[in-house]
């Protein structure tokens, strides 16, 4: 139709532009939340939280005791959720630079048990290791025999694959049981001795290397000593190597507790000291971890003004509200695009909301019974010719009493179907009854049942959309999508195409000969 064409298109264009902006904003916001807050599109996503317990045990012998424990730091990709020291009567200091916890006590006697607990989440692979530049490595002073060995190892290493360090590690591993090798490395060596020998061999080629101690995060793991790995400064950066396989990088779910030449645990004023690590795994929802992640990314300011920082009660209310726009969109589509007529604009939406609480079948059955009983009652009252307001009031009170009776009976007889009556909005129920009975009188049973049926169908469709776990999660976690819905609804306000039901209604207007 040539009705004010320019005006017509501008409105649609402006709305489309706004919709586009809303989509772009939402896309960015989703990216932001996933990246910096760790939100997930799936409601089932969980974040592993590892609790590493270090139990330090020693006999105090001096008056003054000083314990120093090497601890992981968050530069290694793991993010620290919480750190906790249980050491009664000890002075606790954290040495962030050297990644150590220092405990000092006075007048301690007997066996001391101190605990250090660390909760970490999110392992990130291959993050840059401590990038401090190493000191220059001097070639070790070796005997003639040892020098021969060194050269032999390096010759053998040429046959191996990988970078120079990997080649060396593989060659040593291959030769470790050979008689010649035993001269420099005893057969019954510890892994620490092995690592030290590797460091010496690398030093021969002036490659700086150091020991790293790491724990594997594994459910219920208890280990007295962390595993030993090797870090070498090669090609301008520190790289972590597995001493057996020569694989590069920290394997998944490992955490480095200590690196360099310093010891894992130092106890001054005590003896017979041990440290036992144990690991426990638990899970947390990404929403709960969001604050820590936001903090870790230095994005706390944006997080603090989001609804996820609200108290749980407010959050749950908002979570419930955030699903409404989608339900409204469903109603708009059902009415303006599909073209079904319902009793009241948002009645189906409110019905669907009630169904979410009652459960689908029980709610549907209970509600149908309520409507049927209400209609019978309303038909009986119709004979009394009451005035409008008192009559509607009668229906409302009747529905309230009906809900009360059904709920009590349902509770006593243990029929959840019956007791779900309590969740249906009283006014809506009463209003459907009143409206249906008037339609019944004026337009007959067929039209009334049709209208009730369409109302139910719309409610059911809405129910399936809003009861979906994914949909609810996404609409809450990525609530900016509601902005998209807003403009979609507005654009639908300019939709002038046929409704689906009109395609059938106007079918007689199609001339077959055309």
């Amino acid at each position: 139709m040539k009705l004010n064409v320019t005006n017509f298109f501008t409105i649609r264009k402006v709305l489309s532009l706004l919709l586009f902006c809303a989509i772009a904003y939402s896309a960015y916001s989703i990216y932001y939340k996933v990246k910096y807050w760790g939100f997930s599109l799936s409601p089932k996503a969980v974040t592993d939280v590892w609790t590493v317990d270090a139990k330090i045990s020693f006999m105090a012998i001096d008056d003054k005791v000083k314990v120093s424990l090497a601890v992981p730091n968050d530069r290694d990709g793991f993010k620290i959720l919480s750190e906790e020291v249980v050491a009664k009567g000890y002075k606790i200091t954290q040495d962030k630079i050297n990644s150590r916890v220092i405990l000092e006590g006075n007048g301690k006697k007997g066996r001391q048990n101190l605990y250090y607990r660390l909760s970490i989440y999110d392992d990130a692979q291959n993050v840059a290791l401590n990038s401090l530049l190493p000191a220059k490595v001097e070639r070790p002073i070796l005997s003639e025999e040892e020098n021969v060995q060194m050269r032999k190892i390096w010759e053998l290493s040429e046959l191996q694959k990988g970078d120079k360090v990997q080649k060396a590690i593989l060659a040593i591993n291959q030769e470790v049981n050979s008689p010649t090798m035993s001269l420099i490395l005893p057969l019954n060596h510890t892994s620490k001795e092995f690592a030290e020998k590797v460091i010496q061999i690398l030093a021969y080629k002036r490659i700086p290397a150091r020991i790293a101690r790491a724990i594997k995060l594994e459910e219920g793991r208890k280990t007295e000593k962390p595993d030993i790995m090797l870090e070498a400064f090669y090609d301008g950066h520190w790289t972590l190597y597995d001493l057996n396989t020569a694989k590069i990088g920290l394997p998944k779910n490992w955490v480095i507790v200590q690196r360099g030449g310093v010891s894992l645990l130092d106890v001054k004023g005590g003896e017979d000291s041990t440290v036992v690590f144990s690991v426990l795994k638990s899970v947390a929802s990404p929403l709960k971890m969001a604050e820590h992640r936001a903090k870790a990314h230095d994005k706390l300011w944006s997080y603090n003004y989001s609804m996820y920082t609200l108290p749980v009660f407010e959050q749950n209310t908002l979570k419930w509200l955030m699903i409404f726009p989608l339900a409204i969109l469903v109603v708009v589509i059902m009415r303006n695009v599909i073209g079904v007529s319902t009793m009241g604009t948002f009645t189906p939406m409110l019905l669907a909301m009630a169904l979410v609480r009652t459960g689908f079948w029980s709610g549907l059955i209970c509600f149908s019974v309520m409507i049927a009983l209400g209609l019978v009652m309303r038909a009986l009252v119709a004979k009394l010719n009451l005035l409008l307001v008192p009559r509607i009031s009668f229906v409302v009170i009747f529905v309230i009493l009906l809900i009360q009776v059904l709920t009590v009976v349902g509770y006593r007889l243990n029929y959840t179907i019956v007791s779900s009556a309590i969740f249906f909005p009283i006014i809506i129920t009463a209003w459907i009854i009143e409206r249906a009975s008037i339609t019944w009188e004026e337009e007959g049973a067929v039209n009334t049942l049709k209208e009730i049926l369409f109302t139910f169908i719309t409610a059911v469709v809405t129910y399936f959309v809003i009861s979906n776990e994914y949909v609810r999660h996404v609409m809450f976690a990525f609530n900016e999508l509601n902005l998209v819905i807003l403009f979609v609804v507005m654009l639908l306000g300019t939709y002038t195409g046929y409704r689906v039901t009109e395609l059938m209604r106007f079918a007689p207007l199609i001339h077959k000969e055309n």
Binding site: Y498, L503, P508, L509
Partner: protein, 315 residues
């Protein structure tokens, strides 16, 4: 079974106006909301119509307050028959036609015998808003009953046949006649099973007839051939529709007109959101007509000139 899902293109080609299109491109554009009150209140409409000489059933009186209801007999004194209707009703809801009466018995057009108490109750219901849009308090309008012309006797089962004229920018655009059937309970409401007969706007001759959206050729109850339907005073019917535009300023309206034996065509009510079933009755799309009026019809004509313009196009 589902080929109707692909009807969209053909409907567009045939210029069928859809509900969304009607609301967005026609009503929202040409019917100012503030004008609705002129047609939603039948008392107002009637006064307005009388001021520019549109024929309507004569008003006997109005009952505004509950205490006035008991004076009903005084109000209708001197009239043999009368009609009570809600001023804000729509679609014939709450209309009570009393053919004859004495102090205790009221004989309605549908054949019921009512007591004064029943009639009293009916008026009370009107006042309490039972039949009005949104349930607002209403006023009962009492007017003279129409003496329906006999010419349509064979075409309607009980009830009142009426002519619905769709007027666009003052030009009669499409017309249909609505005939009550047994199924529609004497009401001229298409979706309750009344018959709709599309009439050519220029000639007044029947084009097509439908019942429940399906083409029919004879009245289901009286068996009259619907193609024999002729509407006298055709030009006068159209002029009433055209004047309704001058009177209300609504760019898109539906005027409901009945034929009185003595007084000729009379306007019963004006609708600011007339439905789209008229297209099915005519077997034609309304959009094509509206476009034609938009593009080729002259501006600045009086109501009679507009009607004559439309009538001359058929020659």
């Amino acid at each position: 079974m589902f080929e109707w899902l692909f009807n969209g293109k053909k409907l567009r080609e045939n210029g069928v106006l859809g509900m969304n299109d009607r609301n967005y491109s026609v009503i929202a554009k040409y019917n100012k909301r503030s004008l609705y009150t002129l047609v939603d209140d039948k008392v107002k409409t009637k006064r307005l119509a009388n001021s520019i000489n549109i024929n309507t059933p004569k008003m006997i009186g109005i009952i505004e307050f509950q205490y006035q209801v008991k004076n009903l007999l005084d109000i209708v004194k001197g009239y043999d028959s009368f009609v009570i209707k809600p001023a804000h009703g729509s679609g014939g809801k709450g209309v009570l036609v009393i053919k004859k009466y004495d102090a205790e018995h009221f004989y309605s057009a549908s054949g019921d015998v009512l007591s004064f108490k029943d009639v009293y109750q009916h008026v009370s219901n009107i006042l309490s808003g039972l039949f009005s849009l949104g349930g607002k308090y209403d006023v009962a309008l009492i007017e003279e009953a129409v003496n329906f012309s006999d010419v349509f006797k064979n075409f309607s089962y009980h009830g009142v046949p009426d002519v619905r004229v769709i007027v666009y920018k003052g030009f009669p655009a499409m017309v249909m006649m609505r005939l009550a059937t047994k199924e529609s309970g004497g009401r001229a409401n298409l979706h309750q099973g009344a018959v709709g007969v599309g009439l050519d706007v220029s000639t007044g001759l029947p084009l097509n007839a439908v019942m429940h959206n399906k083409p029919i050729f004879e009245h289901p109850d009286t068996k009259a051939n619907l193609m024999d339907l002729r509407v006298p005073f055709w030009r006068e019917h159209l002029i009433i529709g055209s004047l309704a535009y001058d009177m209300t300023g609504l760019g898109y309206l539906g005027a409901d007109i009945v034929l009185d034996e003595n007084r000729g065509p009379m306007m019963l009510e004006v609708n600011a959101r007339p439905g789209l079933a008229i297209q099915i009755a005519n077997g034609k799309g309304l959009k094509t007509r509206l476009q034609e009026i938009d593009e080729t019809y002259p501006l600045g004509l009086s109501a009679e000139e507009r009607v004559d313009f439309v009538l001359n196009r058929g020659k």
